[in-house]
Amino acid sequence: MSTSPASLKDFRERLATLGKQPESTAKLSDEERVRRAGNSFLRELTNGMAVDLETCIHCGMCAEACHFYEATQDERYTPAHKFDPLRRYYRREMSPMRWLFRPFTRKVDANDLREWQVLVYDACTGCGRCDMMCPMGINISELINVVRNGIASAGLAPKEIQALQDEQQNKNSLFGVGADKLRELIGQLKSRQIVIPLDKAKADVLVLTTAVDVLLFNDALAALAKIMNRSGANWTLSSAAFEAANMGLISGDTAAEAKAIRRIVEQAKAVGAKTVVIAESGHAYQALRWEGAEDTGAELPFEVLAASEFVAREFDAGRLKLKKAENGRSVSYHDPCRLGRHGGVYEEPRRLLDAMGIERRETDSSKRENYCCGGGCSEYVIARAAPLRQKAFEIKKREFDKAAADAVVTSCSNCRVNLMIGAENARWEKPIDSLMVTVAANLTD
């Protein structure tokens, strides 16, 4: 079972409609936007960020880590430039020497917020590659994320992202995928002997999936279900909280982010889950695994595992057996930024590929240095950024071509869809597969 070009086409059409929806945020005055952005900066700034902002020496090396700069050589895409509004706000309002710096630091105005919207949403996927490059050890992606949050607070997030967030916030659905759609898919899968236990009263493992999987990559969802069933785990999917994706994290609306997380935590508590497994989604993993406890203010009452982590653990425990893949293909594993660099999940996917006897061909950049797919952090939903994204895709294409594997495997539906769109645009024929699909195809009894 694989994703047909028809369903990708359908998904691309859905993406195209996002930008056409009317803006939901009431028209704000510029003063109000600036005030809201400033307050957002003020709320989010920590001493760690302050140290980072004070430390930047403007060396510009981060530009060389950024796929958008590399693809365009446009100096405005320099990561250190992307957090400039935050730097200026900080210097004027919070820095220990704010009284001295203020006269020499221009105030952030609404036009700045509009200008930076393009820089931090269209031209930054928060991949954190620059974090690894910075000679001062500055957490650049975190600072840019604060800028995004400020711009979102000012009601200036790109309308596609705003639309998705409003949808999740108001309808508890994404891309129109709500509980109904999920039930529909589960029914279809059942007819193919793939059982997904929905809304069990009690379960050890709560699995989360994503709208993108339901809509586009149901092969991956089916594969995960097959694996869960084979491992013998007592698991369930909750119709009230099946969505792992967190638009609050993407747009920068921390309240919305926390709300989505609380919904999951409540369901996990309700079914008594000890483990929450997140389907192949990088940012969903980051949201729950690394920010869930912080957003809800308490340690989570369950462990959070990425699908590949869970599968690797079951494999190690002998509950899952894998056979050698028959076709003898080689693959390049693409580390999703938020699973790899931001998440620490490098080894499990590779161990699984090795266990299946699949030849791994690493790209020049991988693991902590891997290039982003080019559309992470939902950048791929922003229509106007398509040409920029395609340029960044060329870097990935070059890397994959050099590694010369038969296929690309990844473990994030966002990476996968974005790479597929890029490949389709570039008429690049390499298959882009899901790790779960690959594992499911090689399960034995």
Binding site: N47, D52, H58, C59, D84, W290
Partner: protein, 217 residues
């Protein structure tokens, strides 16, 4: 009071007062802001060692990134090392530190010091030109960047002139050299030269925050 007397006496005293007060002001006022509370379960314990490790490893070549930043990276190393050699191993400087700290260490022959200082100046000028001409650096640079680099070049140049007795009488050259160092001291806490102190907490937290996720930063 001659210029040299001023530079050795009140000039030095006041510039050090500003330096010390400013550094603590800026460090304290930054580090004492609200800290983020990490509540998520760490994948990896030992954030202290992760942090300390990154303080060291960020000084090493950056692997995959290296080929794109080679010039900046190695010029950066070169001038910093050259500067530190000139500052720390020139015998009269050691006597200065000794008078301040109460202990000294062995120095290097003057020829080596002169060479390292000249290397540092040459590289700094190259970097200054790069900053003013490279689109990325030009965009993200502000007055602080230019002032700071000039204030680092100044003591090196005046030091070389004083050493070579070129341009004026030695006491005048020495005074100008001291004053240029004092100007740098005064600027230090207010500009980006502070990275010399801030890079340690900054790198540490990169190591610690990535480290708890099991990622080598």
């Amino acid at each position: 009071m001659t210029l040299l007397d001023f530079a050795r006496g009140p000039g030095l005293q006041w510039s050090l007062i500003i330096l010390i007060a400013g550094v603590l002001w800026r460090l304290g006022g930054t580090i004492l802001l609200n800290a983020r509370k990490d509540l998520s379960r760490p994948r990896h314990k030992g954030t202290l060692t992760d942090g300390l490790k990154v303080i060291a490893t960020r000084s090493l070549p950056a692997h995959q990134f290296e080929k794109r930043i080679r010039f900046q990276h190695f010029s950066g190393y070169a001038w910093h090392i050259a500067l530190f050699i000139s500052v720390l191993f020139f015998a009269p400087h050691i006597f200065f530190f000794e008078s301040l700290l109460g202990f000294g260490w062995p120095g290097l022959p003057n020829g080596i010091i002169l060479a390292t200082a000249a290397i540092a100046v040459a590289i700094l000028i190259a970097l200054l030109i790069r900053r003013a001409s490279h689109p990325v650096q030009r965009l993200i640079s502000n007055a602080d960047d230019y002032i700071s680099i000039l204030l680092v070049i100044a003591p090196l140049v005046t030091g070389i002139l004083a050493f070579a007795h070129v341009g004026a009488r030695y006491p005048t050259l020495l005074a100008v050299h001291l004053l240029s160092v004092e100007a740098m001291f005064v600027w230090f806490p207010f500009g980006k030269l502070m990275h010399a102190a801030l890079t340690f907490p900054s790198r540490f937290q990169a190591g610690a925050s990535y480290g708890r996720k099991g990622v080598r930063a």
